[in-house]
């Protein structure tokens, strides 16, 4: 059995356009619901939760690219990673803007008090701030210019994702199920990397004879 699956450049372009469109569905729905009175009784809360949720989902999908690529051997998956990461940043930016604008209505005093005082906001804000350099250095030019340091810098994504899940976990009142689900998925994605680092992954890759590419890693 082989998972090998290569695609041509023209196919890739179509696939990427489709992925871009798919990624914008959550936001499109949010805007649509906003115009059709579909955001429920507390629209600001709905917007805050939705943008927060999609930030986490895009972070997890972004972190899923490398494991999936290694397991399947589909090297071209890596070409989607920047777009997914930028979607995560975009959602985080909307989430932060919602907090500043819709929730606090630019009450800078209140915001300045909130950020250090409320641990869940501290963690969320820190994660958002750390995302900024990653978004800024996401261009091909920056990748080239930074060379090896680019990868070092972008390992911040692990910290950011952990911070994002903690942010969610610390804000719920009693029902921790959803944040723990995000935490479990994140744990699996980071755990895979640890195992891969300890060459346990190699053992599994050989064991299940996934693809030549998987063995190369």
């Amino acid at each position: 059995m082989s998972f090998e699956f290569k695609i041509k450049n023209s196919q890739f372009k179509i696939l990427k356009a489709a992925a871009f469109a798919a990624c914008s569905i959550p936001l499109a729905l949010l805007i649509y619901n906003g115009y059709t009175d579909g955001l429920g009784v507390n629209p600001i809360e709905t917007i805050t939760r939705s943008t927060g949720k999609w930030t986490l989902i895009f972070l997890l999908i972004t972190l899923g690219v490398t494991p999936l690529r290694r397991i399947t051997g589909w090297q071209w998956l890596i070409k989607f990673r920047r777009m997914l990461g930028l979607y995560a940043f975009f959602c985080a930016l909307l989430h932060f803007t919602t907090y500043i604008w819709l929730d606090q209505f630019f009450d800078l005093m209140e915001i300045a008090k909130d950020i250090p005082k409320r641990p869940f906001i501290t963690v969320g804000f820190a994660s958002f701030v750390l995302l900024i350099p990653l978004a800024v250095t996401s261009t091909s030019g920056m990748v080239r210019r930074l060379g090896k340091r680019w990868q070092q810098l972008h390992r911040l994504i692990y910290l950011i994702a952990i911070g994002g899940v903690i942010h969610y976990l610390w804000l719920v009142k009693a029902d921790t199920r959803k944040p723990l689900i995000y935490g479990a998925i994140l744990g699996a994605l980071l755990g895979y990397r640890l195992l891969a680092k300890w060459r346990v992954g190699e053992f599994f890759a050989r064991r299940f004879a996934l693809s030549p590419a998987a063995k190369e890693e």
């Binding site: 009784v41 809360e45 209505f105 804000l171 009693a174």
Partner: protein, 319 residues
């Protein structure tokens, strides 16, 4: 929504109680077998059975001078945005899942340190005292608020009826515990059954009511049918829903939220803009559906009536 369609029904048109009860039994038995087939996708005519009762207009409801004149939240606001963890922790869960709650017949056991303990039927309780409309502000601990036209009667009327002994220092309330009817209880989000409590003088305060209706009609399930507490100067979670037991006790009851997180939820839980929730500010609130937040008032604006209950108490300590 089904609830809205039955405001002017004549009493002669209302199905006889014994008839609808037996009909409901039949439907419930049917729905149990159907549910296994349809995986919970009960048809609307089936799930609407209890709501049909919930929409019934309550006769002879008197106005009260204790009502606020502020603009009311809509029926939709009040019945689709609820915290009622027995039916799930999302705000729209109760509206969606509370249909499984059977509110008739329903009994409330009043017991403990009283001279006249009794198990009341819900219809008997509703005749205990003239029903009044009480338009109250409700301030949730999550920093949002609404203005709600409850229908109910003073809790003090029940207290007088059962004659508490000198040992009765607190009143403890319990919600129904039945995971079959309350699917949220299948997970241990809180310790079930939900428990709340008041000090005796708080319970006897004229503002504290037992509510049986909303907007002049029988209370919808998601709002705590058939009987709930409303204590407008305290955070919303103190106003326990779907009560089956009221116990008069000597010691301060351990409430569900205190057990879940004692540093965040105290026994008193009076609305207090000066004492923040450890994780968020309580200084302001969003009055649904307003865009910007407004200042939260001490005791939710009921300070003139209730502040004396707490004179000499450090409200930073007794949260």
């Amino acid at each position: 929504m089904l609830i809205r369609n039955a405001p002017d029904i004549k009493s002669s048109e209302i199905t006889d109680k014994s008839l609808y009860l037996s009909r409901r039994k039949f439907l419930l038995a049917g729905s149990a077998s159907l549910a296994s087939l349809a995986a919970g996708a009960a048809p609307a005519w089936l799930s609407g059975v209890d709501e049909a009762y919930a929409g019934t207009k309550l006769p002879g409801v008197q106005k009260s001078r204790l009502s606020t004149g502020e603009p009311l939240n809509s029926f939709k606001d009040i019945t689709t945005y609820n915290n009622f963890y027995e039916f799930g922790t999302d705000k729209d869960d109760p509206a969606q899942y509370a249909k499984t709650l059977v509110t008739r017949p329903w009994t409330v056991a009043v017991e403990g340190e009283v001279k006249r303990p009794k198990i009341y039927g819900i219809d008997e309780l509703m005749k205990l005292s003239p029903l009044e409309e009480r338009i109250y502000r409700l301030r949730c601990v999550e920093a949002w608020s609404m203005v709600i036209p409850w229908v109910g009667f003073p809790l003090s009327a029940l207290i007088k009826r059962v004659e508490p002994t000198s040992k009765a220092k607190y009143v403890e309330f319990l919600t129904l515990h039945d995971p079959k009817q309350m699917p949220g209880q299948r997970r241990g989000v809180l310790e079930w059954p939900y428990v709340e409590g008041l000090r005796m003088d708080e319970a006897a305060h004229p503002l504290a009511i037992l509510a049986v209706g909303l907007y002049g009609e029988v209370l919808p399930n998601q709002n705590g049918a058939p009987l709930r507490l409303v204590v407008p100067w305290k955070y919303g979670f103190k106003s326990i829903k779907s009560i089956v037991k009221i116990r008069f006790v000597e010691n301060q009851p351990a409430t569900s939220w205190m057990k879940a997180n004692p540093s965040e939820y105290g026994f008193y839980s009076n609305v207090n803009p000066d004492v923040d929730h450890p994780r968020w500010s309580q200084a302001r609130e969003r009055r649904i559906p307003e865009f910007t937040k407004r200042k939260t008032l001490m005791f939710n604006g009921y300070g003139d009536q209730v502040a004396q209950l707490y004179s000499g108490m450090d409200l930073r300590k007794y949260i």
